[in-house]
Symmetry: C2
Subunit: 243 residues, 2 copies
Amino acid sequence: MPTSVSFDRLAHQPAYKVVSEKIRNAIVSGEIAAGDLLPTETDLAEQFGVTRSTVREAIRLLEHGGILGRAGRKRLVVTLPGMEAVGRSVSSAMLMHQVTYEELWQVAMGLEPLAGKLACLSATDEEKQLLADNLALTEQVMDNHDALLKVEIEFHNLVAEATHNNALLLARAPLNELFYPAWGAIIRALSPGERILVAHQHVYDAICAGDQDKAEEWMEKHMRDFRRGIEMGNLGFDQPVQG
Amino acid sequence: MPTSVSFDRLAHQPAYKVVSEKIRNAIVSGEIAAGDLLPTETDLAEQFGVTRSTVREAIRLLEHGGILGRAGRKRLVVTLPGMEAVGRSVSSAMLMHQVTYEELWQVAMGLEPLAGKLACLSATDEEKQLLADNLALTEQVMDNHDALLKVEIEFHNLVAEATHNNALLLARAPLNELFYPAWGAIIRALSPGERILVAHQHVYDAICAGDQDKAEEWMEKHMRDFRRGIEMGNLGFDQPVQG
DNA sequence: GCTGACATATTGTCGGACAATATGTCAATT
DNA sequence: AATTGACATATTGTCCGACAATATGTCAGC
């Protein structure tokens, strides 16, 4: 029964993808470092033996991931993908997957207490000072909903940064963007300024004291408050997150 | 002292970015659903009043994030960004940020036990069956390094999927890709087949019994083993992860 | 119903073009 | 010496038109 040989579907990758991969590899492998300038589009086109249009498409592919950016608005420069770029791309994926507040909250329950705990080990004096400043500011703006939301988010970012753990920062990047509207709604609905301040204060104390368990515990309490906030405010805990 | 007025730098966004944002909004806002076909490049060019080249660049921008893909290899189709796409983009960011195995492990310690815990609440019978199959397979291939690595990774994915939490799945997507080589090295160096099997077995039992604490605990033990593996194998726990 | 032939639509790639804007140089001015 | 202006140059953003390769659709013929 000579079913004849079976051939693999030959993968004819479009040129712009090949070019994009070549550049990407050179970057990820460290051959080109962050901050380096890339050759001009015309040069790249010549080097790869394709047209400028093709090179441009390849560049766009990388530009979105935050790997490439433009200095000023001219030359191409290799960039470290910032938290914002990663956050944006993952959170848009979460939006499309119709992630609910509950799901998001569960992930936050895994990451935020962890951040508090790790920050106890690695927060520098400057970072503790930044946290102290943030607390002072929180006290001042407690009744201003918008300002309160801003410092609340900032506090969590400061704690996360104090861990000096880039993997953690990248993993929680999308949370920032998505929790933003929810926190805002809670704050407007319940004015929980006092509770927020108390929780932050305890986390801050724990970090200064290097008390991992306490930091973890209070961060957890804080997040449970968030959950109660969504439930009490009737904001639809099982509803998909709104962009 | 008329230092003259200060003006905001006026942001002249390039057309391809504008077009890309327009399409992105239409997708994220649900105006176009996943699975829908987009108009052809020529049509889009006409609608936006730009050239096809510009439209193409805009498309590339979205293509990388996994938002757009090609059906067959022709028409553009709106796609749900899969775990792979998200994983790839975040993990390349982690690589560039020189994330160490320790940092990565800390994140995994936040997410994997959580996955075990949540899976207890939501695993369906089919999913339990898949886990059982995976265990059986693990037993068979315990001495085959490559095969063992594959089922090990698959086990964790199955547990994560059993949580039915898309946010969690997306958050841990990069871990998959980055742990892969490390697990492989550990397995080759230490042949920890027995320990892996025991831990998986306990997690599986806990999930079947709905015992959240036990699932969390054993997943944690399992991850601590992973850490010990890297340390014992002298694989450089504080070294940047290798792509 | 399957096959093949043919027209059509769509993408991938090319080449060339031009305006707007940065960058670099150098002389003139203060 | 530092600033300004004039000018050439380089680079990007956008446009146009073109063509080959490949899917898709249609229709006759067996």
